[in-house]
Symmetry: C2
Subunit: 508 residues, 2 copies
């Protein structure tokens, strides 16, 4: 055993367990259920998945893959494309697996990210044959130290029949001590989660494990796949600017202070750009209580804007990753990584009163949001944590550009083709056009704000016409609709390649 | 002052404040915002609303009415029909006000029942000019003892500029001591809610009030309007039977014990019938953690089946009310009434791991539920607490008859015309036909269970045909739909009076 590995396995009971990836992969049989570490391309096991992909060249088998969130290419691209994933949950964000899902070749269960752990605990997800967990080290006390994410690893380790550890020697040692592992007891037997501030520590620095269950340790040197977010553009910067102006108004109204409230932001480029917008703002002493900590969070820490960030994973672009992981000591007292059950827990989200910022695919004139399904049928990524946060936060904000595909798609439609967030949970909508504050408003009173402030000007006449006709046809019901035409924008897009009505007119 | 009244105002600072209903009503001006006690026809102020209705005969004015939930006829029928309600939230269930809402004459904001208090605290609902609170007594310490509900009274009293108390001398004195008033601090400044069992007491027996804010006390003798639920029929009894068999299977699977988990049931006849079903079951030592405690809960206490019930209101039919209120001592150690912010709090619902049972208007083949809008446009009652409970409970169960209007309407449709509960939050669906356990299933895998187990046989061929065509058209996307036909059942109903396709065929 190399010294670097020897030093990372600090408990005698684990030292004799090192095996090759091929051997560990050989234990995994057709039909098994795997609980894998990883959350948004961070902290996922990599070499065992690739050994499974290799095995698939000569052997037919399929497994269920349960994770924290989306994984890197080893699983969500290569395992998917090798045809060895039967069922996948609770989130993905890779084209490789997405195509298989929408071709009915992989069963995908899209779940609230705080819910999976409860379902594992109840045995509804599982029983899990193998937990496969990337680790930074195994401590003297036998704790598994996670790497760049915690995700669902703690509950997988607790509930799985067997465990395989991928000991990754390439992650910086400074990650040790940044995790806070707290696992609630069964429902009905648990105590309040003892957290009243984003920086509170509740548990241990690693995941407790029964050494008997650990079948093998595989050494890995593969780094996380870097994040795929793109830098802010003019429109996402404008969205950030509208949002920050709105928060200034909330301060004036006495509903927020200068340090705002703990911020949550969904994964992806738009959400990252919104956070980046805080860089040039006057706000300071900010706190983050989120799932993924993306580049902008670290830029805000570097700039002295964010004083503490709690997440369940760190997902960075290549350059930012080098800087952060090369200087981890700077972040030691400003970061904590928690299980996603805690980072996304309604109890904490409501108690701390988060400001949550998540991305919409489309929003309708009454404020219902579709986060997941293109044209109502084709899965994009998944709901992720947006439902955990939006429903329970102080301010549930959704952001989107007002259009897509060069204007052929309006993000504001008469009736969303799939509902992930109901009218009850969408407080504020922001596009590059402006902002609609929907709080306390009845459905009909939201319409003008959404159309005039958020929709792209090209689509406003069509939206106004739909609403006017719907009001006339129903006589002013609570939520006027013309059901025959509710999805006509989507069907127009499918038939004519655009939601713009001019084409409809020509077709008539 | 009559002795009965004198004895109920036990603090000197309040004794001089008694006025007539007419005088109190005269303080309420056009445009004011009223925070009123009451939750599902229980514990609402009655004589001041009727004095306002009287005033409306000679004066034009309108007020906003914020409450706990639906109120009795004094407000939700008579004030509505008198045209003096401008805006109403967060819930109603009266034909009088419903007609005005759907004629665009009253603005109605349909909210999660746990959310209103947060919005009042933030000033988004409000600022409240007058809290009008029915009380059983004012204690020596100056606490307002509520009557048959707590609802949002505590937060209204805390945040309102002025308070009027309707001291109701007809309610039984034994209600005193049954309330537990606990109000969380502002978000970000609050502690965990210190509850780990349904019977835990967290606060005081009455609502703390600044005596300076109390402008008047009006004496009332009017009793709550009795509940309008109808007794279980053959079909609701069958629904209960399916549900109880399902719970037996959960025990066998090791996910529940013989005492189940704290039960929540929505308001109304179907939900009451389901609870009544437990009467003939083997289950014992049951606990209820719900909003409204309806007749069946007391029947279950009487039968020794329920050992403790926590709610935020008691709403009973006339006969049951006489029995319960005539023998309140029997229930003293088995009941607690809390603010709805606590009875419906996601923190507690998730911690205790409730089994929640709520009513659907319609459900689609993928498990999305419409609880509120007839044909997607016309408001029925409101979402109530169903969203608070279903999202955060251990088991989110929805019940409905499989059909309505003598078979002209199918409660199972291709695409619900309004979404209140998304596919992510609906664990189990029960109709008189059977039960669909949707937990852990992908959308396409839910379809057969919902159609074959829950839909009425008359509608199954149509549902199968829709799904088959949708799968073929999309090539097996995550959630197959034919958007052109998604609402064809609803439009057929509007045009031809039925969702049955035979009529569609004839029309072609």
């Amino acid at each position: 055993m190399k010294e670097s590995v020897f030093n990372k396995i600090r408990n005698e009971q684990f030292k004799g367990k090192v095996v090759t990836a091929e051997e560990a992969a050989s234990w995994i049989k057709d039909g098994m259920k795997l609980g894998m570490s990883g959350f948004t391309r961070a902290g996922d096991a990599k070499v065992i998945p690739m050994a499974l992909v290799e095995r698939a060249k000569t052997e037919k088998f399929k497994v269920d893959v349960y994770t924290g969130a989306s994984l890197g290419p080893e699983v969500d691209q290569h395992m998917a494309e090798a045809g060895i994933i039967n069922k996948r949950l609770p989130f993905q964000a890779d084209k490789g697996i997405r195509n298989k899902i929408n071709a009915d070749e992989i069963t995908y269960v899209d779940q609230h990210l705080s819910h999976t752990a409860e379902q594992v605990r109840q045995g509804l997800v599982g029983p899990i044959d193998f937990a496969i967990i990337e680790a930074l080290a195994i401590t003297e006390e036998g704790l598994i130290i996670p790497t760049t994410s915690v995700g669902n690893s703690a509950i997988f380790v607790q509930e799985a029949k067997h465990i395989i550890i991928e000991l990754n020697v390439s992650h910086p040692e400074g990650l040790e001590g940044m995790h806070d592992i707290y696992t609630p007891a069964r429902q009905g037997e648990r105590q309040p989660i003892p957290m009243t501030a984003t920086s509170d520590r509740l548990g241990s620095i690693g995941i407790p494990v029964d050494p008997e269950k650990v079948m093998g340790i595989v050494v890995s040197t593969d780094l996380d796949a870097p994040s795929t977010i793109v830098p802010p553009d003019e429109e996402t910067a404008t969205i950030a600017s509208h949002l920050i102006n709105f928060l200034r108004e909330e301060i004036k109204a006495g509903r927020l202070t200068e340090s705002l409230a703990p911020l949550q932001s969904g994964v992806g480029s738009v959400a990252n750009a919104v956070f980046a917008g805080f860089l040039d703002s006057e706000f300071t002493d900010l706190e983050v209580y989120s799932e993924v900590l993306q580049d902008a969070v670290f830029d805000l820490i570097d700039a002295g804007k964010v004083k503490f960030a709690s997440g369940c994973s760190i997902t960075l672009a290549e350059e930012k990753g080098k800087q952060v992981y090369g200087n981890l000591d700077q972040y030691r007292d400003k970061l904590v990584l928690r299980p996603q059950e805690i980072s996304n827990h309604p109890e904490i989200i409501r108690r701390l009163g988060l400001i949550s910022i998540n991305t919409a695919l489309e929003c309708d004139i009454y404020g219902n949001v579709n986060s997941t399904h293109v044209s109502g049928t084709r899965m994009m990524n998944g709901i992720g944590g947006s439902g955990d946060f939006a429903r329970n936060s102080r301010l549930g904000i959704f952001v989107t550009k007002s259009y897509a595909k060069g204007g052929k798609i309006s993000s504001i439609v008469p009736f969303v083709s799939h509902v992930d967030h109901t009218e009850h949970d969408v407080d504020v909508l922001v596009t590059e056009q402006g902002i609609a504050d929907l709080r306390g408003l009845a459905p009909k009173d939201r319409v003008e704000l959404i159309i005039e402030n958020c929709a792209h000007p090209d689509y406003r006449p069509q939206l106004r016409a739909y609403f006017t006709e719907a009001v006339a046809q129903t006589g002013g019901h609570q939520t006027p609709h013309i059901l025959e035409k509710a999805f006509s924008w989507h069907t127009n897009l499918m038939k004519n390649g655009t939601m713009l009505e001019a084409v409809l007119q020509v077709q008539k």
